[in-house]
Every structure is written in C-alpha cells, then in structure tokens.
C-alpha cells in the first residue's frame, strides 16, 4: 500500500540542484536510500520530514500535504524523524529529553508518557543511561537516543538519515531487528552508506545520484546490476573500474574479466558501485 507520494520534487541551494524533479512512491516496509555524498538523499528526507519546503513539486504522506499548515501538523504527528545530526539538548538527561520531546509530540498523559519514554529507551538499549546527561553520552549512544526520540509515539512514518553511524556491531544488529519489526506495519525510509544494512533490512532500495533516482528496485536487483562483472584473480588487473585485495590475498575486481579471473556472485555494494560508474568507484 502506498503511503508516501513524491511528484516532481525539486530543491535548489543557490546554483546547486540538490533534488531534481524527483518522483517516488513508497509503501509500508523498509525502503533504503543509497547514494554518494551530495546525491540529494538528506534533502529528500528533509522535505519529506517537513523540515524543508521544496521549491517545486509535491510531497504527500498518508494523504497529507505538508504545504498546508494544518496537514503539515497532522503529518508531524504521524512522523518520527532522525536527522543526520540529531543535535540533542546536551544539558538534558536522556529520559528528560525524551519526556520533553514526548510533550512536544502532544503526549499529555504523564503516566503514559513516562511509560513510552521507558519503552523507547529499552528499545534502543539505553534504559540504564536514562539519567545520564546527553553531553556525557558517547557518539553511538547519542545516535541511539536520537533514534529513541524518533520512535516516540509509535509513528506511522519513520525517516532515518544514516541511523547506524557510530553504532557498534552489536547495536547495529539490535537496530536491524528493531527496524525490520517496525517495517512490518509502518513505512520506514532510511538513508545509509551501509549496503549491508540495505541488504539485511530493506525489501526495496532507491539509489540517488545528482538529485535523481538512478535505481529503484530490490536489493537483489541492485546486486544484479554487477552480474558478470565481478571477478577474483591472482594478479592485479589493469584498466578495470575498481579492485582490491581480499583477506585470501586474491584481487576482487569490478569490470572486465582479468586474464586469470573467475566470476563471483556480486554483492549489493558491487551493484551499487557498477551503477554509479567509475566516478563514484574512484571516489
């Protein structure tokens, strides 16, 4: 079921076009947003999260148009947003911050609000840090706290901009479990540079480049983009798009087959790199 519709969305910063006439429909489940730096992912998420007004085009979520003030407020009630840099109030304790955000999310019943704060703190594994001031939390913990504030009130639409930055492997696994469960009933749009997260979580992946969508499909389909173009060889290849030495001492190559190359099943990352071409690969 489609919950989010974006049509002809454009946003410019001066002479730079961040998002260029973009059309996208998203439904319930976890959708991954991939793209190099400056591809327009964050701008797209900001427009959808009502943090930024587009120059042109239309955004609609659950039938609500954020360009209309009343509908924007209603949309915000159904929205959980974790920005790239959550910038949480450093002098608040974790629980106090969440309680304050919960009040701003119009949770007025004190008892239920406190229960909700406890719930989200447990969800992100910060229950034992509830009374610690934000400024004393590590970067990963702050990221989890940012996620916790987005989860307050069980929002229908979760917009997460690079949510796994700073998380240790264990926390990343817990995060995946949490997001995949939420994605069963909600719309989750997450922007990330971690292709493993996309492979593990998303039933759909959208790749952006220079403000436009260059791929929209399944993670498997993205991996398929590099089908027949990933090789293992004993010698370093010449003239290929990208290669690196793996832990077995072999060279993994993207592009044309090296003289001693044997084909390998491509990963999402391979597909992503092949899709964006040599420019991104070199970067």
């Amino acid at each position: 079921m489609t919950t989010v519709r974006i049509a002809g969305l454009s946003k410019r910063y001066g002479s730079t076009t961040a998002v260029d006439d973009l059309d996208l429909e998203i439904g319930t489940g976890v959708t991954g947003l991939l793209g190099p730096n400056g591809a327009g992912k964050t701008t797209l998420l900001r427009c959808l999260a009502t943090a930024l007004a587009p120059d042109r085009g239309r955004v609609e979520a659950y039938g609500l148009d954020p360009a209309v003030a009343a509908q924007r407020t209603e949309l915000r009630r159904r929205l959980g947003y974790l920005p790239q840099d959550p910038g949480l109030y450093p002098n608040f304790s974790a629980a106090a911050l969440l309680d304050y955000v919960a009040v701003l999310k119009e949770m007025t019943d004190g008892r239920r609000r406190r229960a909700e704060v406890r719930r989200v703190l447990e969800e992100v594994g910060l229950a034992d840090r509830a009374t610690v001031r934000v400024r004393k939390l590590s970067g990963g913990m702050r990221q989890r706290l940012g996620l916790a504030q987005a989860l307050l009130g069980e929002p229908d639409l979760l917009i997460l901009d690079e949510p796994t930055v700073g998380l240790d492997p264990e926390q990343r696994m817990l995060f995946r479990a949490l997001i995949s469960r939420l994605g069963e009933t909600r719309t989750v749009l997450l922007s990330t540079h971690q292709t493993e997260d996309v492979g593990a979580l998303c039933e759909r992946v959208v790749v952006m480049r220079q403000g436009r969508i260059v791929y929209d499909g399944t993670p498997r389909g993205l991996a398929h983009q590099a089908e027949g173009q990933v090789w293992l060889s004993a010698q370093p290849p010449e003239g290929n798009l990208l290669y690196w030495r793996n832990s077995d001492g072999e060279f993994r190559t993207l592009g044309t087959q090296p003289p001693d190359g044997t084909p390998v099943k491509p990963s999402i990352e391979d597909g992503y790199l092949m899709l964006l071409g040599p420019e991104v690969a070199v970067r």
């Binding site: 900001r46 999260a49 009502t50 943090a51 407020t73 209603e74 915000r76 009630r77 929205l79 947003y81 974790l82 920005p83 840099d85 959550p86 910038g87 949480l88 109030y89 450093p90 106090a96 309680d99 304050y100 955000v101 009040v103 701003l104 999310k105 119009e106 949770m107 007025t108 019943d109 239920r112 229960a115 909700e116 719930r119 447990e122 969800e123 594994g125 940012g146 504030q149 009130g153 069980e154 817990l174 479990a177 949490l178 469960r181």
Partner: protein, 498 residues
C-alpha cells in the same frame, strides 16, 4: 528487544499547550542555575540589611535590588530556554515536531509565572532570615509585589529576545544592555520625583515617615504593564494584530502609571514631611519612668530604646520625675529624638544604644544640642529651617562649645559608663563619647573614671545633692574633691557651653 506497543494519545491543542506549559515550568524550577540566582539574591538582601534592625521600606528596597540580580539570571535562563532549538544543531529535529511555534512560545512563557513563584520564595526566604527580628514601619504590599514582578519581567525579556533573536550571544548582550540602562537611570535623574528615578524598577527607601504616601501602587502597575508588553512582544511573532494591540495598551498603561507616580508624589522637604513626623503621627507609651513615642509601626523598637536608656534612668536620684521623652520624628527640643535607624548586631547595635543614651543624657542634663543653642521650645524642623533656608531635612551642626570644668560634663560621662559592666572601658574611647557639640576635655574623662571606680551609692548621693548644678553649666568647683578629683580646668566664658 521487545516492544510494548503504547497507543499514542493525541490531545486537544489546549490540553497539549497546558502540558507544555507545565513541562517548561517544571524544567525551570528544576534548574540549579535558577536556585543559585535565588541563593545569591537572598544572600545579597540579607547582607545589605544585616547591620540594621529591619524596616519595611529598607527591606522592600533591598529585596527589590536583590530581585534585579535574580531577574538577570532569568534573562539568561529565559533566553537559553527560548533559543534551545537553535543550539547544538537541534533546529532540524525540533522543527519536525507537531507542537507549533506559537505553542512553543506560550509554553516558554510559563517561565514568567514560574519566575514569580521563584521570586516569591526568595522574598519569603529573605523575610525568614530576618528572624527573630521583624520589619517595622508601614508594610506596603505593592512593594513586595515589585520584588516579585521584577524577576517575571526578566524571564519574559529572556523568552521574548530568545524567540526573536535566538543566537547564543544575544542573551548576555541583552543582559549587559539592560544593566547599562539601569545603571544610567539614577545618573540621569537622582531626585525622588525625577522621571529616570521613577522608571527605575525598584522603589528605593528614602528614609521618609512611614505614613507618608508614596505612589507605590502606580509603580507596580507600571511594572506589570511593562511585563504585559514584553509578553506581547514574545507572542508578536504569532498573532500580530492581537498582540500589537495588547502591547500598545500595555505601553500606554505604563506611561500613565509613571505619570501618576509623578503626580501623586509628595515633594521632599521638611515642610511636606512635618505632618507625617510630628507629635500627631506618634504613638506614645510609658515604660517605667520614661515615655516613648514611636511613629506608625515602630512600636517594637521601644524596647530597644528602653534597653539603651534604662541604665541611665536607674542611676538617677530617686524622685527625679521630669525625665525627657524619647520620640521618633519631630518634637520639642526637650525630648530625645530617635531616628528611623537602629543597629542590629554587635557593634552596630552598641553604637545605636550609645548614641541614643548620649543624646538622652544631653537632653536630661540640658547640654547644648547639635545647633549649640539652648534647648528650648520649638520643633526640630522649625529650628532647622532657621539654619537651612532651603529646607533640607538634614540637621546641620553648629559651632562647638567647651564643657571643660563643668560638673554636668563629668556626670554625663559617668552616666554613660553606667550602661556597661566595664565603665572605664567605655570612657577609654573618647571618640565614641559625643554630647551634641560639647567638647569634652581629657580632665573630665579622667574625673569620670575616678567616679566609676568609686562606690555607686556615693556617686548617686553626689548626684542627688547637686542635681540642680548637674543640670546647668555650673562649674564643678570642689564638689568632686572627695573622689580625688582636683579642680578641673575651666573654659573661658566665650567658649564655655551655656
């Protein structure tokens, strides 16, 4: 990770706003910085009033000045709270929350009543710290209101500036600007009815009679109108028309209140103060042999005056009945004038007692007063007017005269020494021994020390036998010879006290 699904509750806007208001108020009341400000304000008020017995006019002025310090804290706190979303990159996530900007501003304005609560608790703490003393004089509830409203204005200014100019530097700059304006107001006009003085938030004590009318209600109205204008200024971002009207009305009200203060203010000077200080304004009580007349609300100080004077009265010969009255305000020069100031602790209290006691002895023994004239009929203001045609309330001092060789000078010193267990020690500090403008010589002090060492009965008998001489400028002659005091040097007729 297990999640317990909690169905979110969407409240009506009014309830959500009330919830945010309560939250912001709780946040403020939970801030240690606010309570540091309260402690500082209470400490300053207590320190400023520490040396004197409390009076309502002085207490409310000190409390008002201390509340300015608290208001300074609240300007910064209010600004930090209002600009919270604009620091540490919080703007983006805060912007996507469903509470609209107007509700955020209304919520932040919860700091205003919370600041009033904090200020009221500070005033209460300041009063409690006065115990076991309690302020005397006329209690003016409007002035207590001033001390409460000033921090509210501070909080409102902080929020308003924070909503309009959220940059971090604006808060301290605003505080600096306000402090500069407040510092410059008394410079622009220092008389009590000058406009800059009326614009100054605190009504300072002017040492006037407690019943003298002061337009303090109009001053409080001026502050409340200012508060409303600032609150409207904070809300101006959201409801331009309504808040503009409210702001304009509040400013008009503020101007009218200041004008009313100007109109109702009684001009300073002895002429205008006289009706509030003369005998009709005093309440008299007889305690023992002495009658004490206190101005309105100063009754509790009678026991302090009595403590100062009783040792003198006890040392007088039995049968002496024409004892001077002790009165506050104005009265005949045959009475002793206690002013509206009394030291509270240690040497400050001792000095007050010594001053009143010396004055009492001076009047009792008919020594010349500050004007070095003969005590006689006529109020202080009347005599003062003769000396100071401009009509200042301050008493000037006339030329000095010499009490050398006079019996009353020696007996005055002996009477002063009776108030202390170690009378010689009292006499060892001649700088503290003042009887109007009477100059006291070393010989008289030494003679008084001899009397102090003698049995009190003997000196009492001497006093009784020579009571008429003691109350005149008569020379001591050989009256003191039995006490080992040789003839005292006598001043020439021209410089001798009459």
């Amino acid at each position: 990770m297990t999640a317990t699904l909690v169905e979110p509750v969407r409240a009506p806007a009014r309830v959500a706003t009330a919830s945010l208001v309560l939250k912001e108020a709780r946040l403020l009341l939970g801030m240690s910085t606010v309570w540091i400000g309260v402690v500082l304000a209470v400490a300053l008020c207590t320190a400023w009033g520490w040396t004197t017995e409390p009076r309502w006019d002085v207490f409310t002025a000190n409390s008002g000045m201390a509340s300015l310090v608290l208001a300074g804290f609240l300007v910064l706190i209010g600004h930090l709270a209002a600009s919270r979303d604009h620091r540490h990159g919080s703007t983006e996530f805060a912007r996507t929350l469903p509470s609209p900007a107007r509700r955020r501003t209304v919520g932040l304005l919860a700091l205003v009543p919370a600041a009033g609560l904090v200020a009221a608790s500070a005033v209460l703490a300041e009063l409690i710290l006065l115990l076991p003393s309690w302020p005397v004089g006329a209690f003016d509830p409007w002035l207590i209101g001033v001390a409460v409203v000033i921090p509210m204005v501070g909080a409102a200014v902080g929020v308003a500036v924070g909503r309009w100019l959220p940059s971090t530097a604006t808060g301290p700059l605003t505080l600096f600007g306000l402090a500069a304006v407040l510092a410059i107001l008394p410079v622009l006009g220092s008389s009590a009815d000058a406009l800059p003085w009326l614009l100054f938030p605190v009504v300072l004590d002017e040492n006037v009679a407690p019943t003298m009318p002061r337009p303090t209600g109009a001053h409080l109205l001026y502050l409340v109108a200012l508060l409303v204008a600032v609150v409207a200024g904070a809300l101006l971002r959201h409801r331009r028309l309504l808040t503009s009207i409210v702001m304009a009305v509040a400013l008009v009200l503020a101007v009218a209140a200041v004008q009313r203060q100007r109109d109702e203010r009684v001009p300073t000077g002895p002429e205008t103060a006289l009706p509030y200080l003369d005998e009709s304004a005093q309440h008299c009580e007889r305690r023992g042999l002495v009658t004490y007349c206190a101005l309105h609300g100063y009754g509790p100080w009678i026991s302090l005056w009595r403590d100062a004077i009783d040792p003198v009265v006890r040392a007088l010969p039995p049968g002496v009945t024409d004892l001077p009255l002790v009165r506050q305000g104005t009265g005949p020069a045959t009475s002793v004038i206690a002013d509206q100031h009394w030291g509270r602790h240690g040497s400050w209290a001792r000095d007050s007692r010594t001053d009143l006691r010396s004055q009492y002895i001076r009047v009792l023994l008919r020594m010349p007063d500050q004007l070095a004239g003969h005590p006689g009929p006529g109020g202080l203001a009347e005599r003062n007017r003769a000396v100071l045609p401009q009509g200042s309330l301050e008493l000037s001092t006339g030329p000095g005269c010499s009490g050398s060789g006079q019996l009353r000078t020696v007996m005055a010193l002996w009477l002063v020494a009776q108030a202390d267990r170690d009378g010689r020690a009292v006499l060892s500090h001649p700088e503290n021994l003042r009887f109007g403008r009477v100059d006291i010589g070393r010989a008289e002090i030494e003679a008084a020390k001899r009397l102090v060492e003698a049995p009190r009965d003997r000196v009492g008998a001497l006093l009784a036998d020579n009571w008429a001489s003691v109350r005149s400028a008569a020379p001591a002659g050989d009256v003191l010879a039995p006490f080992g005091v040789a003839n005292l040097p006598v001043a020439d007729e021209e410089s001798a006290c009459p």
